[in-house]
Subunit: 468 residues, 2 copies
Amino acid sequence: MRFNLDPIFKPKSVAVIGASRNPDKVGHVILQNYVSAGYSGKLYPINLAAESILGLKAYKSVLEIGEDVEMAVIAIPAEAVPKALTECGKAGVKAAVVVTSGFKEVGNAALQDEIVKVAKKYHIAMLGPNCLGVMDTRSRTDTLFLPTYKIARPQAGYVSFVSQSGGVGSTLLDVIASEGFGLSKFVSYGNAAYIDEVDILEYLMHDKETNVIVVYIEGITRGKEFVELARKITKVKPVIVLKAGRTEAGVIAAHSHTAALAGNYAAYEAVFKQFGFTVADDFDDLINYAKAFASEKRPKGNRVAIITNGGGVGVIAADDVASSKWLKVGSLSSATKKALAKVMPSIVNITIPMDIGGDGDSKRYGDALSMLSNDPNIDMLLVIVLFQTPGADSKVAAEVVHQKDATEKPVVAVSIGSTYTQTHKTMLEEGGVPVYESPLFAVKSLEALLEYAEYRKRRGILTSSFFE
Amino acid sequence: MRFNLDPIFKPKSVAVIGASRNPDKVGHVILQNYVSAGYSGKLYPINLAAESILGLKAYKSVLEIGEDVEMAVIAIPAEAVPKALTECGKAGVKAAVVVTSGFKEVGNAALQDEIVKVAKKYHIAMLGPNCLGVMDTRSRTDTLFLPTYKIARPQAGYVSFVSQSGGVGSTLLDVIASEGFGLSKFVSYGNAAYIDEVDILEYLMHDKETNVIVVYIEGITRGKEFVELARKITKVKPVIVLKAGRTEAGVIAAHSHTAALAGNYAAYEAVFKQFGFTVADDFDDLINYAKAFASEKRPKGNRVAIITNGGGVGVIAADDVASSKWLKVGSLSSATKKALAKVMPSIVNITIPMDIGGDGDSKRYGDALSMLSNDPNIDMLLVIVLFQTPGADSKVAAEVVHQKDATEKPVVAVSIGSTYTQTHKTMLEEGGVPVYESPLFAVKSLEALLEYAEYRKRRGILTSSFFE
């Protein structure tokens, strides 16, 4: 590894260079976010004029502090960055996140080269410039200069998310905050003048707090190193990737955006597929797949059972499974059929999809889920709970979570609706059941699990979870 | 037309047969929903024992009322329905919604035949049995026996939604309630013993309050009549259809669900495509396409302009447009380029996608949208507003609505995120701008508009709106 990124993600102390008393300033928002996130390390606001900011004693320079500073967030005008970074070097600061823009992305390559030279000289692990930086839900470091009312911060989890684009990154971060699966680390790496995507991915591959990696990239600079890493990383944990520049129009747009050479998508895709990456085609896929992988269960085959309390949605799901490339609608063993016939009311047709009726309650869901998950003919369970129906309530949500915990097979849910449904969706997700808002999303996600499981099998990695 | 459905959708008076004082009973929920919806017609609870229910005088039979009753909702056990329906006939009731189940769907065809015979004898337009019935946001008739805390009711609009399945219907109704486009009429027609999908679609074709029709069907009984209607209906207004049974597995599941003969999907699809139906492949499509059509603008060509305040999402959208079947990324005329260069800051690259920057505010959105919508090289506008960025706020939302109103060209938006974004999404949607949560959904919806516009052109219908 070129860099140890621990000081970036787990700093024991942070200097905010450019901290300000003015709430409109980036440096104020950053300091404010550290304070309100409950960051437990030491915080040093750096400001030329102020005595104190947000109740913390302020310093004119990192050299004035007189104590060890592990990481610095730099949020001052571009032309002042080289001097501030040099002071960091002299003060023994190990890492710096330069959020400031106005470097290579606006044609100012010389200034960018200058800060890289400083970083190299003083062995500073430098992220950026022109980036949102990092967030770690456990250490509570958070260099994002956007207020929490605009971007909600996700709860702690085991999915880490790397984005070349700050806009894509902050948007998905905000979306993840309303999902139940939680986040480990977020990185927006901007111009990648020093630390780049290969460094970050290599760090996350070894990170014990990361089980699933989600990546948005426009271009890759160190292609050879990326391929070498790609070969190793998916043997350790799943990587979901959305690569911009799938089309000529996208390639041109990407170049205009981050000056990235998006290159030949087909070549990238070939590498991704060869090495078992989960390729997303759109925004939704990133979240949907991450959610499925975060639930940590590995399918052993392609046969899907569908349980529903709404016949129509069951029919649509069956169509989606049957239209998919690899999955098929499972058939019940005769033992399971007999057992189910004993406990289900006569109106329930014992077949897949199994419609337990609009009055299907927690008892009926429990019976169906436990018997289907014990059936050797079934590899995955897709459970549809329409909370609009009379039988579906919090008890059903609790039962689905319980049954998911009791089986080794992947269980995903589909619930569609507004307020009442959203409340129960949250219950399910906080219990570790991935919930989708359309049958198609659920089916695509199960297929992504299967494809990755098959890749690991081909590579001889046969653990019951993806994360062992 | 076989039936006049006005008494179903616009009844001046409603008898609720099976109204109950017990809040757990279906008949109670229905009466309660009429009362709390502010239904302005006369309401007559029918109950053998109670003197009054929910403050309304109760009657033992419709024959006792002594005033004209236009419509009856029947929510009593199946075996009691023939007698109640006969009394409706004798009392001159014009229409009945039989929500009760326990007829043909459980093998009781004889009882179903009996009530059809009664309906025919007395010329009662009968919907059901085994259905949720109807809801009309203007007359406020609402026979859905599900409480509003479970299924939110949408605001008034011009989209009507017909669903064979009660589960699919109520779920989508609940989803539509959290969208801004509004609903005109909802129909869940169940066993279709008398009134069927052809009758309902024919009524909606002529309905002045319906501009867009959304249909979920499993099987069609009167195939010949359906094809005749299909030939006419899309000349008048767009019809979005999701047909279950796209696969063998789906056909079997549909038969088990509503005993529908889902038939050969390819044959259905051929009819849909020949007659300009907008074919949905999944749940999301139904809502996404409905939203686009509800915005009432017709594209004149396939060239899409993309405006964004987040470069990465702009790149993804460009990829989505370029990957689509019919759309292409537009190129600006040189006049527009010159005019934009004068008003945009130098960091903005004057090209499509046009990234106005993370600090892009209402002024910059306004300039970009007005100039792009006046460019003869552009047919449709896709505007991305990431509300996580510093420049994006309520003023931007208001400006996008303003610019949408000022142009004849379709404008759709993409905004992705949690609380802050959702608030602003609602502002945009209530202003008539369809908002999508992924670039792909927006692009697919623009393509659906284009396909329908091209169909109308081929049929020689050249109005500037779809609804003239």
